[in-house]
Symmetry: C2
Subunit: 598 residues, 2 copies
Amino acid sequence: MPSYRPPVDNVLFLLADVLGFYRHADLPGFAEATPDVVEAVLREGARFCEEELVPLNRVGDREGCTRHADGSVATPEGFREAYRAYAAGGWIGLAGDPAHGGQGLPYVLSGVMSEFVTSANMAFGMYPGLGQAVIAVLWHHGNEEQKRIYLPKLVSGAWAGTMNLTEPQAGTDVGLIRSRATPAGDGTFAISGSKIFISGGEHDLADNIVHMVLARIDGAPAGTRGLSLFLVPKFLPNADGEAGTRNAVTCGALEKKMGIHGNATCVMNYEGATGWLIGEPGKGLRTMFTMLNEARLVVGVQGLAMSEVACQNAALYARQRRQGRALTGAAEPEAAADPIIVHPDIRRTLAEIRGFNIAARALALSAALKADIARRSPDAAAREAAEDCLGLLTPVIKGVFTDRGFQNTVAAQQVFGGTGYIAETGVEQFVRDARITMIYEGTNGIQALDLVGRKLPKDGGRAITEFFQDVGDLVKKHEGDEALALFVAPLNRGLDDLQQATVWFMANALGNPDHAGAGATDYMHLFGLVALGEMWVRIAAAILAKGEVAPEALRSDLAFGRVFMERVMPETALRLARITAGADTLMAMPAEAFADLP
Amino acid sequence: MPSYRPPVDNVLFLLADVLGFYRHADLPGFAEATPDVVEAVLREGARFCEEELVPLNRVGDREGCTRHADGSVATPEGFREAYRAYAAGGWIGLAGDPAHGGQGLPYVLSGVMSEFVTSANMAFGMYPGLGQAVIAVLWHHGNEEQKRIYLPKLVSGAWAGTMNLTEPQAGTDVGLIRSRATPAGDGTFAISGSKIFISGGEHDLADNIVHMVLARIDGAPAGTRGLSLFLVPKFLPNADGEAGTRNAVTCGALEKKMGIHGNATCVMNYEGATGWLIGEPGKGLRTMFTMLNEARLVVGVQGLAMSEVACQNAALYARQRRQGRALTGAAEPEAAADPIIVHPDIRRTLAEIRGFNIAARALALSAALKADIARRSPDAAAREAAEDCLGLLTPVIKGVFTDRGFQNTVAAQQVFGGTGYIAETGVEQFVRDARITMIYEGTNGIQALDLVGRKLPKDGGRAITEFFQDVGDLVKKHEGDEALALFVAPLNRGLDDLQQATVWFMANALGNPDHAGAGATDYMHLFGLVALGEMWVRIAAAILAKGEVAPEALRSDLAFGRVFMERVMPETALRLARITAGADTLMAMPAEAFADLP
């Protein structure tokens, strides 16, 4: 069975020494998050993940969820108790508003827990994760009554949540949604339609499930501008605020899928179910985006989390499995063979993953800190700067962390040889589970288009200009530092490649947007590499600043960082070459060239 | 359900116009393989794959194999009938020696069928594929009696075959094998031991199963030099040459695994089973390598095959699925949305896969032709040159085709969005099935070491020198050709990168073999890109030579080739940069840095 040890020490170092987390004590909730409190919270969270969630991961994969004839859905053995314990531990409401029973701690800590929980048991973690996304929408857009009724239940985890966008004909293109909302005359709406791929649409973990549903009010225009967001509870709240009458929403089927078997992926049928409008009519997509943006960051972190747990297990295996001899002669001649960690190709594999994981964790924490600032800072300029940065980073973190996270699970599986293909080992489950992160909450192709088509040009390119400035300043600051040269030089080259790519888009994509479309995925990855490279310069500087007293683990991290800068960063040049190839060859081909329809 | 249309036309074009297949009529069996015969054979093979094997693919995945209490194993519904029909069609013995009932046709055609069968149903295709590998060993190394008894049965498919190398403690490192062979005094041996991961170790398809087993004769030295190869049939042949008494070899368990569920992956227990020595004692590994080398080419082709079928299905989906609008304005304004094939990112994905598939098919056919020459040519110099080239290409085809083939199945799955994660769609099965190709018959890390450590320096670098010469000549030949410039220039750059990498190894890896180990995987991919680029120059030249009469499909192929040269070939520079990063950072880290053992 795979094991997992949450990287608490790495998080504590990144928060304190790289991100200056404790310098934000002026933000609400941050003063309470002293180093002692943060460490205590994370160690307890780590313990819960290791002891309660890891043992349920294989069970969840094997058993999956079961839909009964009455439409009810049973989660795998043990999930129910674990969910109750997780909720009781206050983890769902960790960063929630104290006015609704939350602990009010920084969102950063909630982000850390997302990583730990996902590494331990991704399918499980999606249930409370969706509840947190619903909390975010209601907190931002719900009216006072909605907040009063729903937020305490969601924050405590007594009730769970879902997001309902997709319909068979409307995936990426939500403008094609057909679900309808008919005004009932009493302020409520009767919701009708069928939604697919609804994670946690039905289950036995919570007393109620609060669905956030995109639908079209009768008479509303076609396309996205006709969409409104509705709250549709599984059970209508009664006068006491408890789950009352059953609403007309049911799970019609469970999808059989490649992974995350422990999470119920449902077809949801709405047959005149009672719903309440959230936010303004016709603004449903915008309202939903509060949830989507937060969910996209979480999905990015899921990519990191799977990369981390897969790498931990591969590294343990590589130290224990004995096959062959070191190329330079037997390392342990007394044994029948050397552990495979002596092989450069195995080390390369593991070091490249670790080099990504550490920088990705720093970047994810940095983004979560921006989210805290954007939500909590009293300073409007600080909020705007944080929003700008977060807007740019969200598609990058979602797309790059999940693409690389998946690749890393595959690379980690490879370390196991044939054993990695066997279900019992558990690493092939990581691969299957991680695969969905590249798809859901907007495929990575959509993330790339969001970055290139929306986030780059937004506000006259204010955010990307600021990003270039920050990275450029960092390079300048450390330019003369011999000890950091191996980190700074590749970042500088990467920044140059990214700037060239940006200029190329400005020169070419305005005239022909297909050039932006053809280069979007490469641009997203180029951006991600520069952002990760930036993190490595910051991390390396922080480690070197500790001098001789730096713990052994940090000095190893430095070596992983070097591997990342030496071997992964040169990819920026490839990405630039691919971007400047443009769209002409691709778009000149007739559709039939790709496939003749039967 | 996924569909599949074997690329017969592409194969016919590559054979006739790119590889000069029909210029080899002097080789035994080639004179019979006229264009008409080749086309008829391939069209009939294609029909069989489409009609008989495709419909069983999802069934095989869903049902898997079942081991009964008596150790017998049932294959999925329909496999038995399909295997009988496949054998009756003469497909297993297509290239087999007519002396043993084979059709004596070129091995090239057998290679083509490997691709078609794998695309249609990879788990099924492994059963006859292993029989063919056993045929190759017996044909090369069996004595006359062994050939007489076993080859006709294997060639007809009445009996099936397996390869038994792996034991729990001996995977990559076969020198650790513990299985024993005790001389029985009558020329036979009593084989004892336990083998794992044995594909097709037990099943209900054939009347007998012929196991090729690596074991150590009592008193033989430790390590690979003590290994001998034994033939151990499930049923001992009786005087009539039919399956007689049951031998003491049984299937102890089936592995539950990520994919290829329709193929029985067995734990095989040998309890004093009767076996016959094949080849010389102590030369077992060398004897087995006849089988392994052929199997590695087939596994490389499996990577291509999965890439092909996944891409075909993704392309069909992309033409049918409507979401969003072309970036340049609605392509089909009368419909609610455009087919997603209008999006540059979707086209890029599909075109990069197609660009790989066509060149990979050409390279695989070219390697198969070398195998024919190496086996059948009366000219010793021609045989040697073919062997040299094949030795170099085998690890490249195995490693690069399966790494890229898997990536391509993942990319094709991505085109489907959420639908691609659902089992019913079938594309996620392609991903799970394709994953094993990177692992079995020697992990891709081992292929890279074989290339760099063994094949490069072999005979003073004769083979690689010849390869450089060939590619260099091709570049020179077309250097002034404007119409080919977009193909020739990237190949020239790639060749330069490959030569630089080779020189770097010569300068650095002799002193420290870890430098070769750390760069081996990148070198293998760099080599593969140059070899594929070479194919594209040859293909493009052949298409352009047809002038205006070139069919539409070939002109589209030219565009896919351009995409490959523009977007994939620049990766050679990245590979070179990674190789020259060397091993120092990787090897300086203590093993504990990768994972502290708990």
